[in-house]
């Protein structure tokens, strides 16, 4: 296996609306930030991969427009996933493993403001038995939350505490959409209150991956990807055990999470209740710093929020604030699909 690291990360400020910006206009500043941070030009990049969904803003082929921002003409080596950008990062990591590229630019963006993201996300569900009922994203998360409460894994007070801690941590995150004291609010779908749910908004993120000595040349302290894996569960909600996340657990095992303790974990848990599920699946104790960025409860640009977890974890390693961090991304209803990566700074191995 080649040693591959995240060598740069940038994200936009995450905002409720960005009417004045098209997707590419929103995205370009973060592309330039990661290129500037490494001194690379777009023509130096070996592979480009992005994650986004046209359904969010109702803009057909928006990812081809976004390509204008990376200088895609004359043609570059490029790919796109209709998924969170964390999976675009995974594809880029595989591409570098094949030896076909030494560097990769990975980006993701989501503009939820033009549409109703609760309804939009129903269109990803099983079209025969589930989507015709239009069960929105909060409703499905609420079913999972109630199952957790019934199982004795949490209660509404504990969920409110998860939300409060996330927004308190986000006070130090200048990009966060929601930080500081946020009221628990009314039930959106009981047992989840507004405070248990992520803010709806627009945002983008980008990272640069590089292999071996290239990474060392581009970054003082690369965040080496020691393991990365993703797993998926059945699409039928009633088939799954919603209080567990066996796919997260398996991805973490395959990524090597349990070989040595991590000091930091960035978990992609858009709902407070999902953080409870993930902590349990990953066996994270109080000694692990969970979501110092505030996580998706502080900013949840759909399609970018998972990539941002990888970026936030890497940035802490870049800054010397973490030696071994876990980063997690999720996709689908009730944590259906999960990606886990282990990132390390060099001194951790010395």
């Amino acid at each position: 296996m080649r040693d591959v690291a995240i060598v740069a990360f940038a994200q936009t400020d995450h905002l409720r609306r960005t009417d004045e910006l098209s997707e590419v206009e929103m995205l370009m500043p973060v592309l330039h930030q990661v290129l500037d941070a490494t001194g690379l030009r777009t023509s130096d990049i070996g592979f480009t991969c992005s994650g986004s969904s046209d359904y969010l803003a109702g803009r057909a082929f928006s990812f081809t427009m976004a390509l204008d921002g990376v200088g895609a003409h004359p043609p570059i080596s490029e790919s796109h996933v209709e998924m969170d950008g964390a999976w675009a990062l995974y594809e880029a990591w595989v591409k570098i493993q094949t030896g076909e590229a030494d560097t990769a630019l990975v980006y993701a963006y989501g503009k939820s403001s033009p549409g109703q993201v609760r309804d939009v996300l129903t269109r990803q569900l099983d079209p025969y038995y589930t989507a015709p009922l239009w069960p929105d994203s909060i409703a499905l998360a609420a079913l999972q939350a109630q199952a957790l409460i019934d199982a004795g894994d949490t209660d509404e007070t504990a969920l409110a505490a998860v939300a409060a801690r996330s927004r308190a941590d986000a006070a130090d995150n200048p990009h966060a959409q929601l930080s500081g004291p946020v009221p628990a609010g009314d039930y959106l779908v009981q047992p989840l209150r507004t405070g248990d749910c992520p803010p709806v908004g627009d945002g983008a993120a980008a990272v640069i991956l590089a292999a071996g000595d290239t990474a060392r040349a581009l970054c003082d302290r690369p965040a080496w990807i020691r393991g990365i894996d993703h797993r998926i569960e059945a699409h039928g909600l009633g088939v799954r055990e919603l209080t567990e996340s066996p796919s997260t657990r398996l991805a973490a095992e395959r990524a090597g999470v349990f070989e040595r303790p991590v000091d930091t974990a960035e978990l992609h848990a858009p709902f407070s209740s999902q953080q409870v599920v993930l902590r349990k699946a990953l066996g994270l104790g109080d000694e692990v710093r969970v979501n110092p960025s505030g996580g998706a409860l502080a900013a949840n640009p759909v399609m970018a929020a998972g990539l941002i977890r990888l970026g936030e974890a890497a940035a802490r390693i870049h800054r010397g604030e973490s030696d071994r961090a876990l980063a997690h991304a999720t996709s689908g209803p009730c944590l259906q699909q999960n990606l886990v990566a282990v990132l390390e700074g060099e001194s951790a191995h010395a």
Binding site: E20, P114, G115, L133, A139, L143, Q146, L188, G238, V239
Partner: protein
């Protein structure tokens, strides 16, 4: 900076989907007030049934009729029903394990309020008055105090089976095109075509998309182009488009407006279709009530030299 434009946008599509044998039996069964499950290799009964075992991926077809009564395994109270959801009064989302099944079905429960709902409560199917072979043939669940039902083998055979479903989907947006395209559309309202110049390679893009696809940087300098231009290439359209009141054949062309480094496309009129040629000089014809030119027509100038536009073909 011009005002940012926005407009309502509705994306609506009726997906037509064919059904596998298990899905067909299940949905036809609902039409006939019969709930079917499917047995997996290890003996579990899945309701709703699927074509392949979620654990082993093995093809499964062993159908079982289960009861229309069951037990709530989890629930969530929805105080504000959304447009296309099954009930328009507050209701509970529920996962229900029907009597005779080992897995739960997602649906809704009609109940007076959250205090009337709990995990473990007994419910039964309320059938829709009109049933077509769809998950919505179950109108909802309702509380039920009677005896549990049982299960029995079923051959899945029904008269006139449902083999496909049409699922309409509508999503509503408020579309805003962003800075560059808003400025372009604003200028069009004044019958001017305004592109943007790349600060790096100096190319002028029309219509502007906000970034130079070669340099990957924002285009920021506005440049008025045209109104005249040159046909760089074209095609003859022979098939009448639905909802488009234009006589065929007609010509659709790429037109490089004077001063632009990217050709846009438009219809050519005012000239027989078989006389349109590369290099033809054209100008826009505007019509009332349209933001874009209705079409382009010949200016009468001599044709442009191929060398003058070959980079734009």
């Amino acid at each position: 900076m011009p005002d940012i434009l926005s407009a309502p946008l509705v994306v609506e599509f009726p997906f037509t989907r064919s059904l596998g044998p298990v899905q067909s039996a299940f949905l036809t069964g609902l039409r006939e007030r019969t709930v079917l499950g499917v047995r997996t290799g290890d003996g579990k009964v899945l309701v709703p049934p699927v074509e392949y075992d979620p654990v082993t991926a093995e093809e499964i077809q062993d159908l079982v009729e289960v009861a229309a009564t069951g037990t709530v395994t989890t629930w969530a109270w929805n105080p504000h029903p959304r447009r296309d959801q099954p009930l328009d009064t507050p209701f509970a989302w529920v996962l229900v394990r029907l009597d005779g099944a080992d897995t739960a079905l997602l649906h809704v429960l009609d109940a007076p309020g959250p205090d009337a709902v709990h995990t473990g409560m007994r419910v039964r199917v309320r059938w829709a008055g009109t049933r077509t072979g769809a998950i919505t043939d179950i109108a909802c669940f309702e509380p039920y105090e009677g005896e549990p039902g049982g299960s029995a083998p079923h051959d899945g055979e029904f008269a006139d089976p449902v083999t496909g479903i049409v699922t309409p989907a509508r999503l509503d947006y408020t579309y805003s095109p962003g800075r560059a395209q808003s400025a372009y559309l604003e200028a069009l309202a004044g019958r001017r075509v305004v592109g943007e110049r790349c600060p790096s390679c100096l190319k002028v893009y029309v219509p502007p998309r906000g970034a130079c696809p070669t340099c990957g940087v924002a285009t920021d300098e506005r440049v008025e182009v045209g109104p005249r231009g040159t046909v760089t290439t074209f095609c003859v359209v022979n098939i009448k488009a639905k909802n488009l009141d234009i006589e065929v054949p007609y010509v659709y062309a790429h037109i490089a407006l004077d001063g632009a480094d990217l050709a846009l496309h438009a219809r050519i009129g005012g000239i027989p279709y078989d006389q349109v040629r590369m290099g033809l000089r054209v100008e826009p014809v505007w019509s009332e009530g349209n933001r874009h030119p209705d079409h382009y027509r010949p200016t009468g100038e001599p044709d442009a030299d191929y060398d003058a536009y070959k980079e734009l073909v």
